[in-house]
Symmetry: C4
Subunit: 323 residues, 4 copies
């Protein structure tokens, strides 16, 4: 479980994420007027207390028996948001109920439009208010076997795969079940709520997704868990921001470990960030209370960075606050 | 106590300070005429034997029972200066008497103008000849509990704080007691002696402070003790020097560990430097004699660097002596 | 044997090879259409299943009693190619038979044209389809003594060497037996099959070799085994590619440890890569099956990198896929 | 003794020397014609077998009872040159006899012209053919106490020093006994043989020395033994070379550990190099034979680098052979 929890940190990609964040010092601006400041933001029609969203991560019950529901409760209590994973270890309806407010749902392509549509309809019926379509992990990494009582309860069994001897497991197996740009267009028509695309690093891909109707883009390299030699996600953020020119909100995901990291991504133009491993540590240590504590710590850190850098609101966080 | 003494060195800010200093090698210039050279300077009307000031540090009695008085005696004996901290662990009048000459006083904002004025008046009455107003630490770091016999004896008890449940401890608590630019203007009118601002990293802030009447600027990131992800202070020094164009003396503080470090800051334009941790080590090891020994060592190192680089006086130390 | 197997990795050259490869992250391009993709290529008239050739390495029987023949079998089974070393520890005819298809032969200069011609004729008679002439190792490194049952079985005994007391072992000994540009011209006339030159790092040398009729160039620093302070081979690849302007295929050798490394070299313009140490590890661990397993792993990695970066064929791998 | 032998390597200056050398990879040029190549050079009227001079180092008898005489014998046997230190632990006449050929003498200023002249006359009388005047160590580093049987036998006792209480040991003590530019001019008139200046890092100083009549310049930071924060000596070599424009030979000293290092310095324009610690290791291990062995190893390495990079003579070693 530790391997899963910490996976991807000590890869070239993971170290690159850390180094790219560290390369941006924060520039203090004393004596500025920041009394009454706050971290509130408006995001897809909802007012959030802070821009620290819980990233979608599979199988929370690997860390704690209360699983995703514990995180949902903590999220709501801390006035935040959570992106529930397709690979959640509890029924998505149960998680939705635990939150007592509409959450976001992360959608993996399910190998075909029919299978994908069934999962999507279920999430929409449960009241999820945003769909985050993850596109950067078409090839599943080999994972450790799951304990008997932890499994992906929201997805249908994998499709049987029949390859000819001279066919490639990658090109003719995995990629035959991966989505394409046409599938994104198809999905857009079936999603009546805001649709975000997650896992984009190339500015051209971000523009194409927005041209197809996406309402938001999540710049991410999956925290280093997929391609171990991908570029640091932060290094690609400015290009994406520039190419989109403010058409839709851009969120940042990958390597956020502190309030200072969140400040850095916001300073480079992200509207909000997704936090991954830190809240899982809280979950493993103390369930819902642990998650709530981690969110509060990160928010306090963000507030301190803002106060020291003379930023009363998120709108004040700009590139010239970062070296 | 070691934690306090060494705090901030092994943070990104602390390591950045070290790396920025190390990035400047000193260029030897043999055969130059430096006989009769010296390290004297004129600073705010006083002639000092050398430009190595003792930086303000809280609670000297954590390191040695003789506390700030020991440092004051050593400073005077070594023909230097000392900036006594607001958070001194001995009465500021007692420290002033130990020095047998007027010292400088470092002032923290005390949460309100009335409280700040009371502390200021007391320091002026005790004969302190310069006021160094520190502005970069409005948010106090959580600190270890103090031993029973060590406490800030010169300040009034903290103001009671009443926050509403939805208020931020940072924005509505700490920052409500932090000073603003208007408070600096107010302070300037009440300080009849030279007033320096300490904790500036942004050239625009330095100019604004001088426009408001400050007599000197101390470029500092608080030695890495406040914001752990601040830029290296030395990296900001040239911008500040250039923006001020010689209107007032600029001093450098953060990471000075040797005479070579002092030479580096002077070569980049600082008029003098503040030394922190090294003299605390001397204090912890041997009281006043230890502090005097450290000052003498640093001065010898500075003299050797000057001699090897062909500088007979501080005025000869220029950027082209540093790579 | 481990020393030989791992030699050259922990030299400045070896570390430089690794660092130069790592400096190129791979840029994921999700949602691209790559179904039915493949790694096939046409190379000197032969269709290969993938661009991962086995590099020439001496004395395979140091690693496994089945020696070069095991590698030849694995190569053929995995639809690849192998460059058999002049210093093979089995007769080159035996290796050729094990492959059940024509392999490539790596040729070292044998001290004179007569001796070299005899070895070349033997390789051609055995059906080798390409000759790879290695020019970067005229000075043999001191090597550990070989076990009694491992020796270079395809070469004639070394020429006796008679130096005058004031002669240099390097200039008058080794280099007197090293080939020159005239020898390459001579060789070109005697090689009726494709002739590649291996061990070129300078663009001018590559052009000169092609002007003399070489059909291909292998950019290589011998994996760090010859000159310990040579530049990273990858750092020289773009210059060579540009200078040759597509006249002949350029192959890359030195430091390839993974499918991602192969992708990097291909993205910078190499047509194929030579893999060295990884297949020797497979040979040492499990003979022919071990070598086949390593080739398959590397190919799977290459396919995953291609799929994640949106490349259906090798022709899609271009510099803008690499950061 | 180990401390003295290895001193200065693990300082910023020493590490900088190593890093600056390592930053220059050597570019192999196979197939070039180098048969009959050699490392001979003409230097101040003498033909040397190779450009690897023994640098002046104090107190050889710390390493071996045969002391400087052993090094002198090894130097002559290996067809090289040696710069005997002012601080030699054997009489300079005895060392000269051991060499059976004229050596070079390194001269430290002796605190006054009279004292310096006496030492110079003695060296000239003993037949030393070049004088190397070291100017970068006016401040003697604190050194470990010497064993009873090792001392500087060629120098007069130190001058008594009388400082007033307010005088600086550096400026009024050491530097009062240090030479100036006028002393160099004075020295030039008294030296009838070639005079080199050693310890120059600034191009302007090199030009000034040659304008005053010096016949050669040794770029050096004293191997990191004097100013611990000096720039890498190699980083200053190109400026000096350019500024002098070929008027006199420039030699390089500091951090040469291998034949590849010598090649690097030669490629940047040095005419010869001074080797320090490596020959002391040889002396400590095996006396004269050890020193001879080290010289031979370094020369073999240099020859191999030349052969692999296509250089038949030292004149072929140019900047484009180094990356």
């Amino acid at each position: 479980m530790w391997h899963y929890l910490d996976g991807g940190r000590d890869t070239p990609t993971g170290r690159g994420n850390r180094a790219a964040l560290d390369a941006h010092p924060l520039l203090p601006r004393p004596l500025a007027e920041v009394r009454g400041g706050h971290t509130r933001l408006e995001l897809f029609g909802e007012t959030l207390g802070h821009p620290l969203l819980l990233a979608p991560i599979a199988y929370h019950r690997l860390q704690h028996p209360d699983g995703e529901s514990a995180c949902a409760m903590a999220t709501a209590a801390q006035d935040g948001q959570m992106v529930v994973s397709t690979l959640a270890s509890q029924p998505l309806e149960q998680i939705a109920r635990a939150a007592e407010k509409p959450l976001w749902f992360q959608l993996y392509w399910q190998g075909s439009r029919e299978r994908t549509a069934r999962l999507l309809e279920r999430a929409l019926a449960a009241g999820y208010r945003c769909i985050v379509f993850t596109v950067d992990a078409p090839v599943k990494l080999a994972t450790s076997p799951l304990p008997a009582d932890v499994r992906p309860v929201n997805t249908e069994p994998p499709l049987p795969r029949r390859l000819q001897p001279d066919q490639s497991e990658v090109f003719d197996g995995w990629m035959a079940e991966a989505p394409g740009w046409h599938d994104l267009a198809w999905l857009r028509e079936r999603v009546p709520v805001p649709l975000l695309i997650k896992g984009v690093l190339h500015a051209g891909d971000a523009v194409r997704a927005v041209d197809l109707g996406c309402d938001g883009v999540v710049v991410s390299n999956h925290g280093g868990r997929v391609l171990e030699v991908a570029p640091a996600a932060l290094s690609r953020l400015p290009d994406v921001i520039t190419a989109l020119g403010g058409r839709v909100p851009v969120l940042y995901d990958s390597g956020i470990d502190s309030g200072a990291d969140a400040f850095r991504a916001l300073a480079l133009g992200a509207r909000a960030v997704l936090v991954g491993r830190p809240y899982l540590w809280g979950l493993a240590a103390a369930g819902a209370l642990g998650v709530a504590h981690v969110i509060r710590l990160l928010r306090d850190e963000l507030e301190m960075c803002m106060a020291l850098c003379g930023c009363a609101t998120l709108a004040d966080i700009s590139a010239d606050r970062c070296g």
